[in-house]
């Protein structure tokens, strides 16, 4: 039998094929401190991967990701795949796809942008390029390609 470096989970989410070194950023998106008490998070760094050479994996028990978290992962770790696990079985597996508009995930890097003022609005970016991903703020038209620094 194959030796498992991280044990399987009964229910939850497996984020696989994360570019190597990016798992800790994915954890930041998941906001581990705010996860419910019975969630165990396991992380494997620098794992052999047929597809990528090397990859990271994050498993989160008893949690299914919000669409905001999926969009954030799509920005930070575009090669990632997300599997929903129920009763030890993969119920759904998909790659992370960015919608044409990314809402509420990033803060506009332009401090003078109206979206950084106390107004009743969520940040909103249009995807202008894919591979590599480039976003443009719909309010001030500033471009963003350094997503990690600007997670909301």
């Amino acid at each position: 039998m194959r030796e498992l470096k991280i044990t399987p989970i009964r229910n939850g989410t497996v984020i696989d094929h994360i570019g190597t070194g990016l798992a800790l950023d994915v954890l930041r998106i998941l906001n581990v401190r705010e996860l419910q008490r019975d969630s165990t998070v396991s992380v494997a760094l620098h794992v052999r991967s047929g597809k990528l050479g090397w990859k990271d994996i994050v498993k989160v028990e008893n949690v299914e990701l919000s669409s905001r978290a999926v969009n954030a992962i799509a920005l930070i770790a575009p090669t990632a795949t997300i599997s929903i696990i129920r009763d030890f079985r993969v119920r759904e597996k998909r790659s992370v796809d960015l919608p044409p508009k990314v809402v509420g995930v990033l803060k506009c890097p332009n401090l003078n942008c109206i979206s950084n003022q106390p107004e009743p609005l969520e940040s909103e970016f249009e995807v202008t390029d894919r591979r590599p991903t480039v976003l443009r703020c719909v309010f001030c038209e500033r471009r963003v390609d350094d997503f990690l620094r600007h997670l909301a």
């Binding site: 506009c108 003078n112 942008c113 109206i114 003022q117 107004e119 719909v138 309010f139 001030c140 038209e141």
Partner: protein, 322 residues
């Protein structure tokens, strides 16, 4: 040949927001400039026109601006409309902490259109969402100022009869200057060649250069002013705006590094026009005013017919001429 009515008419701007010059197609811009030309006798007060009779336009100037506000007010009043003006944000509930969103919601129930000047980039886009009446951006921070771009294009087209194939030099603060970013975009759309001339620290940001390259624009850099204007048709001078600099030492380093005077213009073609969004603070010597090169006062006047054309396209459903 007779065109079907629907094809011969430009796409309607009725009820639309104009937040960025990118909100207007090339055909719409050309149509607005044609209409602005017909507005000139009305803007000069030689003819009356009732195109905006019964209309109220709110002037929400959260950031002070004399020239832009007065030319918008003149445009509305020359066309028989009236204005509600906020000229000092200190006198409004914005000072008490009311959101721009709420202020605009309120204003949109008092007026037929809103003209907004605001210190934050993107404010006009937010206002357009808050308002169920059309919003015209009259400058949002270092962002967009589409009516300035329209009047810049109008000034060039009035002198040369075209915007295609002209050589235009953009001089000065190409980093923070909001007028040059949208002007460069529009010039590229119409097929002008652009030369960028600025101090090293005020170069056009890479993001805008990349946009111009994607448009297929012909753009090159020539920091030396004399060389840049040698075969140019238009020299567009900007002011180095102290208020846009994040740090004063950066401002002091570049303040006063270029000046357009009679000596500089000796090298230029006789038909070269010198433009400036005004106010100028020493970038253009007063001696240039008396030369045929000076186009900046004409440019300031054209603000009125251009804004008349835009306001009537947005507010007058009939498409009547003045």
């Amino acid at each position: 040949m007779i065109f079907p009515h629907s094809l011969a008419r430009p796409m309607s701007l009725h009820g639309r927001d104009v937040v960025s010059i990118r909100d207007l197609s090339r055909e719409e811009i050309a149509g607005l400039l044609d209409s602005a030309k017909r507005m000139i006798p009305v803007a000069e007060g030689r003819r009356a026109s009732p195109l905006l009779a019964g209309k109220i336009v709110a002037m929400a100037f959260v950031e002070p601006s004399t020239r832009t506000r007065l030319s918008f007010e003149s445009a509305v009043q020359r066309l028989g409309g009236s204005c509600l003006t906020i000229a000092d944000a200190g006198a409004t509930s914005l000072r008490k902490g009311e959101s721009l969103y709420d202020t605009i919601r309120m204003l949109s129930s008092y007026a037929d259109a809103i003209v907004l000047r605001h210190p934050n980039e993107g404010a006009a886009r937010l206002a357009a969402r808050a308002s169920d009446r059309p919003v015209i951006n009259a400058g949002d921070g270092a962002g967009q100022h589409p009516t300035q771009t329209l009047l810049d294009l109008m000034t060039i087209r009035e002198r040369f009869g075209t915007l295609a194939g002209l050589k235009v030099v953009l001089l000065g603060d190409l980093k923070y200057g909001r007028t040059v970013h949208s002007l460069a975009y529009a010039l590229a759309e119409f097929g002008s060649e652009i030369t960028l001339s600025s101090p090293e620290s005020l170069r056009l940001p890479e993001e805008h250069r990349d946009d111009l390259r994607r448009q297929g624009a012909k753009v090159h850099d020539e920091p030396n002013l004399e060389r840049a204007i040698r075969d140019a048709d238009v020299l567009y001078v900007t002011r180095i705006q102290k208020e846009r600099f994040p740090d004063e030492s950066e401002y002091r380093e570049v303040a006063g590094t270029y000046r357009v005077d009679a000596r500089v213009l000796k090298e230029a073609k006789p038909q070269l026009i010198v433009m400036h969004p005004l106010p100028r603070v020493g970038e253009i010597a007063a001696e240039v005013d008396a030369t045929p090169h000076a186009a900046y006062f004409r440019q300031a006047f054209l603000a009125v017919p251009v804004r008349m054309a835009l306001l009537s396209a947005i507010l007058d459903r009939s498409g009547r001429r003045p």
